[in-house]
């Protein structure tokens, strides 16, 4: 790409991302955060009344799970609708009549949603860390786990956008959930493969294990709750995996969208 073309691509993607971000903010998605904070505070109160000793662990566990669940729900439900809505309401007609390439559109939508998710994760993590700090607990060991949650969300969002270029939001949401669940079960293929005899079954296992998303690799919440840090190689490897996988899915989404007709 020539320099002016790259500048043009960048400014188009940024404009679309900004608009997507604005839409999400004005759609009051972030009220979810308020719900989250209240829930967390309420639950921690309740737990500190009920249990003795291990409530900090419970708060950490609950907090991280909540960040992950809220993030995934936002990624799926917003992700499947943002592209579809533009097609359905035909705003994409004028948008694509500008000197904007179709992949700029997908990239911009993705970047916009990812910024929303980033904001959500930051705010929710902030609330969780503040709560822990008030209780005199160390929250630093949670940060690697939170970073990997964000990369997991990046992968889920990419799937949501891919499926939304292929089908309607209902089905796209369903497929994205399937991808999410499968992603958390892929690790079992490794075990299965080890027990399989040589042959096509084993090859199939191998292929599936390589191709399917492995979201469990990005889950270090157990260690974080115990106060342990993941190995640096694991952190870097898992992050790189998340980014590359998300990009690969996004490239497929761009290819699908490139071929799309707007009737």
């Amino acid at each position: 790409m020539s320099a002016p073309a790259a500048t043009a691509a960048w400014s188009a993607i940024r404009a679309i991302a900004l608009n997507t971000f604005r839409e999400a903010i004005r759609d009051r998605i972030l009220y979810l955060l308020l719900v989250f904070a209240l829930l967390l505070i309420g639950a921690s109160r309740l737990l500190s009344m009920l249990t003795v000793g291990s409530e900090d662990k419970i708060i950490k566990d609950l907090g991280l799970s909540a960040i992950s669940v809220f993030g995934v729900l936002t990624a799926v439900f917003v992700g499947v609708s943002i592209v579809f809505k533009e097609i359905e309401k035909r705003t994409v007609f004028t948008l694509l009549s500008c000197p904007v390439r179709r992949w700029h559109f997908i990239a911009g939508k993705y970047a916009g949603l990812l910024s929303v998710l980033g904001l959500i994760v930051v705010v929710m993590s902030g609330a969780l860390c503040a709560l822990l700090a008030l209780r005199g607990e160390a929250f630093l060991p949670l940060l690697p786990a939170i970073l990997l949650i964000f990369f997991e969300l990046a992968m889920v969002t990419a799937f949501a956008i891919l499926f939304s270029t292929l089908t309607n939001p209902m089905l796209a949401a369903l497929w994205t959930f399937v991808a999410y669940v499968v992603g958390h079960l892929t690790w079992s293929l490794e075990l299965l493969q080890a027990r399989m005899p040589e042959g096509p079954g084993r090859v199939l296992c191998d292929v599936l294990y390589t191709v399917l998303p492995n979201l469990e690799w990005l889950n270090v919440r157990g260690e974080a709750v115990r106060g342990a840090l993941p190995a640096t190689e694991h952190l870097i490897g898992a992050s790189a995996y998340g980014v590359c996988y998300a990009l690969a899915v996004l490239v497929v989404a761009c290819m699908v969208f490139e071929r799309k007709e707007f009737i």
Binding site: E23, R90, S97
Partner: protein
């Protein structure tokens, strides 16, 4: 300076020589597949069309003629089955071609969570306009479509006509050489229609090319240098309006009142209790009729020139069927 709209001389690409075609369409074909091959619908069997630079061109035709399909193909929203489209000598999908056009779709809808200004600013960005120019251009475009001072209105609160105007502002704010409008007058009140007509004429005065589709033949007749009439995807008629509608008078309708209205030297069109309307072919016959009126002491209520309107032409061209050809 805009990075997205290199002038032909600076980009080194093929320049659009003046007077050449702004849009050149050859053998453009499109069919909609239908479900599982059933209900396949040929929207355009093979269209050739040239829109000269600097003119106002009206794409006319009844519902379902293929106007929107043609425009969507032109903008790359649909892929042609066959044929080619050039915009200022460039392939229509080229970013340089896109940078030089503005588009308003049929029944537009825009992001309702934005205000008119925010929306136009977003499109300014998409056209690669600098932050410094965007503000001015937004205001100028709003002024040109009669939305001055209403830029802070959320699009959610805009009426259909206001949305249409904001859409028009979007199509012209980056100063494109070619403005493509799908049904620009629909949804507008008479004042709005007038404003849009004036705007289209201003664009022409600035040397822009305007290509629009419409059902409203009166507007097309007032505006267009050239028209094309599509029917079932085929070009029924195309040419300069001046040549298509010779300005000569095609007779006079004369309405008279009086007692003795029998055997006047003219064709009777309509007769009422006290008045009757007659048709004469030309000025000589008119003079003869009027002389007769004076001698019979009839009152001349009105004299009306008959010209061929675009509507007459349209109905004549399309009225030859039903089902006549094919």
């Amino acid at each position: 300076m805009s990075v997205m709209s290199p002038r032909p001389e600076s980009s080194g690409s093929r320049a659009a020589d003046p007077g050449s075609a702004a849009i050149r369409i050859r053998g453009l074909a499109k069919a909609f597949p239908g479900h599982l091959g059933i209900g396949r619908k040929v929207a355009l069997p093979g269209l050739d069309l040239d829109v000269p630079s600097g003119e106002i061109f009206g794409l006319l035709g009844p519902n379902g003629a293929g106007k929107t399909t043609t425009l969507k193909l032109l903008l790359g929203l649909l892929r042609p089955d066959a044929g080619e489209i050039e915009v200022f000598g460039l392939p229509h999908t080229a970013a340089e071609a896109r940078a030089r056009l503005g588009f308003l779709p049929e029944n537009p809808y825009f992001y309702d969570y934005l205000t008119a200004e925010e929306f136009l600013d977003f499109y300014g960005r998409l056209h690669g306009l600098d932050a410094s120019e965007r503000g001015d251009r937004v205001q100028r475009a709003l002024r040109r479509v009669g939305m001055e001072g209403r830029g802070k209105t959320p699009l959610r609160q805009c009426s259909k006509g206001m949305v249409q105007r904001v859409g028009l502002a979007q199509a012209i704010q980056h100063d494109p050489q070619l403005v493509i409008l799908d049904e620009p007058m629909s949804g507008l009140d008479p004042i709005g229609r007038r404003q849009v007509r004036d705007l289209i004429q201003e664009l022409k005065a600035e040397g822009k090319t305007v290509f629009f589709s419409s059902h409203i033949l009166q507007d097309a007749e007032l505006l267009c240098d050239r028209i094309a009439i599509l029917e079932k995807g085929s070009l029924r008629f195309s040419g300069a309006l001046r040549e298509l509608l010779p300005s000569q008078i095609r007779g006079f309708e004369v309405t008279l009142r009086g007692a003795n209205l029998e055997n006047l030297p003219a064709e009777h069109l309509w007769a009422g209790e006290e008045e009757t309307t007659l048709l004469v072919a030309d000025a000589v016959e008119l003079e003869r009729l009027l002389a007769e009126c004076r001698s019979r002491e009839l009152l001349v209520v009105s004299i009306w020139q008959r010209r061929e309107s675009l509507e007459d032409l349209f109905l004549r061209e399309l009225g030859q069927e039903p089902g006549g050809e094919s």
